[in-house]
């Protein structure tokens, strides 16, 4: 998987998680809705951040499924 795809996924999911958190606290979005969306987005965010961490070592493509 190309590094910039992983970066893009990490940034988008990270921003969405922060927005959901703020929206949940401000009652813009109902807490259960924010919680369910966070459950879906948290693994995506953490896995992409994790892959970015390890990408510093291997420099370039990130080995992922189908590599």
């Amino acid at each position: 998987m190309k590094r910039h795809y992983v970066q893009l996924i990490a940034i988008i999911s990270g921003i969405l998680l922060i927005v959901l958190s703020v929206a949940g606290h401000q009652d813009i979005v109902q807490v259960p809705v924010a919680a369910v969306l966070s459950i879906v987005l948290a693994p995506v965010f953490l896995i992409s951040v994790g892959l970015l961490f390890s990408a510093e070592v291997i420099d370039g493509d990130i080995p992922f499924m189908g590599y």
């Binding site: 998680l17 922060i18 959901l20 958190s21 949940g24 807490v31 259960p32 924010a34 919680a35 369910v36 966070s38 459950i39 879906v40 948290a42 693994p43 995506v44 965010f45 953490l46 896995i47 994790g50 892959l51 961490f53 390890s54 510093e56 070592v57 291997i58 080995p63 992922f64 499924m65 189908g66 590599y67």
Partner: protein
């Protein structure tokens, strides 16, 4: 929400570090610093990662995401004070992770770990009796109702002590280095997660940290009740230290002994439940 997830992960990893430290001190060793598990996780995240050729690629990666999602969902249920039944359904889903991790790998050690995970399904039996007894006493499985019950009648730890013992046993069966930790015993290297390394191992570590925090938090919420955040964290710490004492002082049981102990405990609590339901 993400702030709770990250904080709970770090707290869980810190609890793992305290667990290792307490075990080491009891065994007369200095032990690692308490933040060792956090460093461990960060170290794994920085390591070169790939997926072994002999592994089932989809499952190998998916179990990591599922593991994070399951325990994130469990944390959210606790925060929103939803049903205890849903929380325990998520706990049982964790079995899928254990099986998946082991069976996705090409390593025979990991497969042995997965098979032992099937055998150790008996660890869910005390959970069943615990939930049944809580329902029998409080008349509800909603966390907010259980908290309200405790605010009026005092902690469930006293009234439903056998249920607390059962849940304690369940948590003990999921803690590292415990008497029931047959799925990751040293004779099968690291058991079901032997072949997960690098970023996958780091994320699994983080998810398991979250799992430990959620299970201990559940115990405090269900059996001690609403006592405020600082006292809840203190109760979680004390609970973790007691678990560490048990782990340090108890040898790891063989797979069948492990199942026997868990089944016998469930049987005893079932008798107590029948007594409560019929005679009390």
């Amino acid at each position: 929400m993400i702030e709770y997830i990250i904080a709970a992960m770090f707290a869980g990893l810190l609890l793992h570090g305290i667990h290792r430290k307490v075990i080491a001190r009891i065994q007369g060793r200095p032990g690692p610093p308490i933040w060792q598990e956090i460093l461990h996780t960060l170290k794994f995240l920085g390591k070169e990662s790939w997926i072994p050729k002999t592994a089932s690629q989809g499952v190998y990666v998916a179990v990591v995401g599922i593991s994070i999602a399951i325990w994130t969902a469990a944390l959210m249920l606790l925060i929103t004070q939803e049903s205890l039944l849903l929380l325990f359904a998520l706990y049982v889903l964790h079995k899928i992770v254990e099986h998946g991790i082991g069976l996705a790998s090409g390593s025979p050690y990991a497969k042995f770990g997965a098979i032992r995970s099937v055998v150790s399904a008996a660890s869910e039996l005390p959970l069943l009796s615990s939930v049944a007894l809580i329902y029998l006493i409080t008349g509800s499985l909603m966390l907010r109702d259980i908290e309200a019950y405790q605010a009026i009648n005092g902690p469930l730890l006293i009234v439903a002590f056998p249920a607390a013992v059962a849940l304690y046993l369940v948590i003990l069966s999921k803690i590292h280095y415990g008497p029931f930790s047959i799925v990751e015993a040293k004779e099968i290297v690291s058991g079901y997660w032997t072949e997960h390394f690098g970023v996958w191992r780091g994320l699994m570590n983080a998810a398991f940290g979250l799992k430990t925090f959620v299970l201990l938090y559940t115990f405090v919420v269900v059996f001690i009740g609403p006592i405020g955040l600082p006292l809840t964290l203190l109760a979680i710490l004390i609970l973790m230290i007691t678990l560490s004492f048990v782990c340090a002082a108890t040898p790891m049981l063989s797979p069948y002994d492990s199942v026997t102990v868990q089944t016998l405990t469930t049987g005893l609590i079932a008798i107590y439940i029948i007594y409560l339901g019929v005679f009390a």
